[in-house]
């Protein structure tokens, strides 16, 4: 911004020097994992290679492929319908279809499992009516059951992104295509859809990253993916080296997805367009078809699970709802708020540093800092856990002569968990903050300088006011994500720090669906508020791609 000689050595490193401490949040766990992965584990690798990996890799790839196809088949048409057309209930469905974001995948998983398992209500009903339920596919061990759960849980990402694309570009492109003689269907496939590809691609990349990182839903379905192999190597075979190697491979794949998502993001053009004025008004059969489709997805992904959870909760709340639950809820909320605070501040700092120092090295350091999103929870947990345990031990050894007995100066507090969670969700906060930062033009910053404001004053009087909604968005998104998060919280919590998510996991491990419904419902209810606020925000600025 100001005329400092950018070729001078001192200045060249400034951006990097400022961004590096923040990047360490992700770099250190990554290095820890890589470090542990460097010890060769021949005997276990033989076993993994011959008996575990083929099936696991096949499963993971198959899952990713099928989920991709189905989530596109669900998310994109819904986005099109609610963005471009008019049919009964459109206004409601436009935002209601985002609500499933408040329900974590592992909650949807156990609800579906409880509903459709052999001894569950659906199959029992079928047996009562038809005598046997052999034609109803067994949900246990069913790939499709898991696929539907993951699709229901994650389609909002694709839906939101596609919707944003269609709202900003759909109308114009359809008009242009139709003027050239294309029928509406052809115009959709040949023009509107390709134009929306970067957005849809970014949404799909997000979905696939979530699928790869998922731990809870897959556990409920007892499906074997990369994450399960990782768990098995580490916790069952007690071989952290092999687990770290699997983790490193997993991280590599997810990083590729992240790169694809970033490239998609850069291909997006943001327009500030007028709100949709002309919608395609559907007639006759198609109106009701559209409504039915939206209703079906909404029911399957949100309404039915909610009803089932409420029903289950009602049957157990008298026994289970005790003072402990307020404790869990409080832990969940305070953890989410603290992490969101840390992540938002760090995201602001990163965005600010990136703005002030546009050089390549700083750019890469910032990209490194947000890499935590690519690392599945358990990988991040072990990557944070080990260095902190080491640091604690070192500190203790240092302070021993002073008679300091109590341990965990760092770990004993929440610090470790907060660091891991912040590392994981920094990307979420950063994306929202940076999107808002991009809308502040360089000339606005230079105008401030020309009016006599130094960098800090500019930050205070120009950036912060204009970033307010972006920062709030970032904060809320991290709050929702932390409340749903489970692996890191499970692995790193201190005694007495159980959250609602941990409770759900513990209860679903025992197949206690009804009891698990209570904390699950709490998570969803608390998570609904930020999701609704988020929806209202994106409704206000349809040009911003969430």
């Amino acid at each position: 911004m100001s005329a400092v000689d950018h070729t001078a050595p001192a200045h060249r490193w400034r951006g990097f020097a400022f961004a590096l401490p923040i990047a360490l949040l992700t770099v250190v766990p990554l290095l820890a994992v890589v470090g542990m992965a460097l010890t060769p584990q021949p005997e276990i690798w033989q076993h993994l290679w011959n008996h575990v990996l083929p099936r696991v890799l096949g499963n993971t790839l198959l899952l990713m492929l099928i989920v991709s196809v189905v989530v596109l088949a669900v998310g994109v048409p819904l986005a099109w319908l609610t963005a471009m057309c008019d049919f009964p209930g459109r206004k409601f469905f436009a935002w209601a279809l985002v609500l499933p974001l408040a329900i974590p995948a592992y909650v949807l998983a156990f609800v579906q499992m409880g509903l459709f398992e052999y001894a569950g209500p659906v199959q029992s009903f079928v047996r009562d009516v038809f005598g046997n339920s052999r034609w109803v596919p067994d949900i246990r061990g069913s790939l499709w059951g898991l696929v539907m759960v993951l699709v229901m849980a994650f389609y909002p990402y694709v839906y939101l992104m596609a919707r944003s694309a269609f709202l900003t570009q759909g109308h114009r492109s359809m008009e242009a295509a139709q003027a050239l003689g294309y029928s509406p269907t052809a115009a959709f496939f040949k023009v509107a859809l390709p134009l929306a590809r970067p957005w849809i691609g970014a949404g799909l990349a997000l979905v696939l990253m979530e699928v790869l990182a998922d731990f809870g839903a897959i556990a409920v379905f007892n499906f074997d993916t990369f994450t399960t192999a990782l768990y098995k190597s580490w916790f069952d075979l007690h071989n952290i080296g092999a687990a770290a190697q699997l983790a490193a491979m997993l991280v590599l794949v997810v990083m590729l997805l992240l790169a694809a998502e970033q490239r998609s993001r850069s291909a997006q053009r943001f327009h500030v367009s007028n709100p949709q004025q002309h919608r395609v008004v559907l007639k006759g059969g198609s109106r009701w078809l559209a409504s039915a489709l939206c209703l079906l997805v909404f029911a399957a992904a949100f309404a039915v699970p909610m009803v089932q959870m409420v029903a289950w909760s009602l049957s157990v709340w008298r026994e289970d709802l005790n003072s402990d639950y307020w404790g869990y809820a409080w832990n969940t909320l305070s953890l989410a708020l603290m992490t969101a605070g840390i992540a938002t501040v760090l995201a602001l700092m990163l965005s600010w540093i990136r703005r002030r120092h546009g050089d390549g090295l700083t750019s890469w350091t910032v990209r490194l800092a947000v890499l935590g999103y690519a690392m599945p929870g358990v990988v991040l947990a072990v990557g944070v856990f080990v260095p902190i345990a080491w640091l604690d031990a070192w500190l203790m050894a240092l302070l021993e002569p002073w008679g300091v007995q109590t341990l965990g100066i760092i770990k004993g507090s929440l610090a470790g968990m907060l660091l891991a969670l912040a590392a994981r969700f920094l990307a979420v906060a950063y994306n929202a903050t940076d999107a808002a930062m991009q809308r502040i033009t360089r000339s606005q910053e230079e105008a401030c300088a020309s009016l006599g404001l130094g960098p800090w004053q500019t930050l205070r009087r120009l950036h912060l006011p204009l970033l307010r909604t972006g920062l709030l968005s970032a904060f809320l998104m991290v709050v929702v994500d932390v409340m749903k998060e489970m692996p890191i919280t499970l692995m790193m919590r201190q005694f007495g720090w159980d959250t609602l998510a941990v409770r759900v996991f513990q209860l679903t491990s025992e197949s206690m669906w009804q009891e698990a419904a209570l904390p699950a419902l709490a998570i969803v209810l608390v998570g609904l508020l930020p999701v609704i606020l988020l929806v209202l925000q994106t409704e206000k600025t349809p040009s911003s791609a969430g």
Binding site: H47, H51, V52, R55, E117, Y118, A119, S124, D138, R140, G141, S142, A219, V220, N222, D224, T228, K232, W234, F235, D236, L237, H238, I240, V382, F385, V386, A389, D392, A393, M396, Q405, T406, L407, G408, K411, G412, L490, M491, R493, Q494, F495, G496, Q506, S509, E510, S511, M512
Partner: protein, 338 residues
């Protein structure tokens, strides 16, 4: 006025710190026994002794990895597991310390504790065969190994291999028959499965009742828990003690046990807790809610458990099970038992 306030504050702080000093030091427990089953007992301990207990529950494998990673800065004093293999491995890894406690050694029979005085069993559970009362006659059942026979095709329900109980059962088979035969048996099981494996024994038993399968292997205490809520359940699903015949080895027995963590900050408090858990009165209360068998021979079994009758247990060899657990896991992978 100000002086009065200061005096009040000082005395309050003084009283608080005195109270702190007077309070006994807390004990931190890492447990793979689920909270619902453990916390009531621990709360009782706190009520009786005033010692606060910090409880962290997680899967057995995660806990020992966590202890290993935490090392000297671990806050844990006590490790409680629900599988003897896990316990044995924890001791072998050096995560538990040797404790001299004549009380513990007196309360816990020799074959249910570590000879190196690193861990003690606290309750016993069995993993045996359960069958549908309508569709199966007890004469058809005999051993775990028999369930691999093709005559059971499409009728068997099993728990996932990811659970320690399955791993320990297979480890026992390996110790008994060697890897090759154990692998053949397990392969037979897999081909007899009626549906996908279960993540939990309770759903397994319910599935037998619902008719998804006719026979399955489960821990006895899950059966007890269902019976406590539905006393008529034993009309639909019945218990069968496996391997009772001569030279068949006896029903598979497992332990839930505990040890004092190597780097415990409060080893004294830990020892006292363990001694309390192994004492006669506590053992009775402890196992009455959980439908396991008490380890302390002087304690009373829960009536539901008593109703299952006596059986021939397999001689518990923690070393056998523990040392073969890794092998069992690999075997399970090889035969495709999920």
């Amino acid at each position: 006025m100000k002086l009065w306030k200061t005096a009040l504050c000082v005395s309050l702080v003084g009283a608080a710190s005195l109270a702190q000093a007077a309070q006994p030091q807390a004990v931190t427990v890492y447990s793979s026994r689920i909270e619902a089953l453990l916390k009531p007992t621990l709360d009782e301990y706190t009520k009786q002794t005033g010692v606060k207990i910090n409880l962290l529950t997680d899967r057995g494998g995660s806990l020992s990895e966590r202890l290993a990673a935490e090392g000297a800065s671990s806050p844990a004093d006590v490790l409680i597991t629900v599988d003897v293999g896990n316990l044995w491995n924890a001791a072998e890894r050096g995560l538990l310390q040797k404790v001299d406690s004549p009380t513990l050694n007196a309360n816990v029979p020799a074959n249910f504790r570590d000879e190196g005085n690193r861990w003690w069993g606290l309750s016993q559970r069995e993993r045996t065969i359960f069958y549908s009362a309508d569709r199966i006659k007890p004469e058809q059942l005999s051993t775990y190994e028999d369930l691999a026979d093709p005559k059971w095709k499409g009728k068997l329900c099993l728990r996932t291999s990811k659970q320690a109980y399955t791993q320990s059962l297979v480890a026992m088979l390996i110790a008994k028959h060697g890897v090759e035969k154990a692998e053949a048996i397990t392969k037979g099981w897999v081909s007899n499965l009626a549906g996908d494996v279960f993540t939990n024994d309770a759903s397994l038993l319910k599935a037998i009742a619902a008719g998804q399968c006719d026979v399955g292997i489960s821990n006895t205490y899950y059966y007890g828990r269902i019976l406590a809520k539905e006393p008529e359940f034993n009309k639909t699903v019945k218990l069968f003690w496996a391997n009772q015949g001569a030279n068949q080895g006896g029903a598979h027995v497992n332990l839930s046990g505990a040890g004092v963590v190597k780097h415990a900050k409060n080893p004294e408090g830990a020892r006292k807790l363990l001694e309390w858990l192994s004492s006669e009165k506590v053992q009775t209360a402890y196992t009455h809610g959980t439908y396991e068998s008490p380890i302390n021979k002087k304690a009373e079994q829960d009536p539901i458990v008593k109703a299952w009758g006596k059986f021939i247990p397999s001689p518990l060899n923690a070393g056998d099970i523990g040392s073969h657990q890794a092998e069992a896991i690999k075997l399970l992978d090889r035969v495709g038992y999920r």
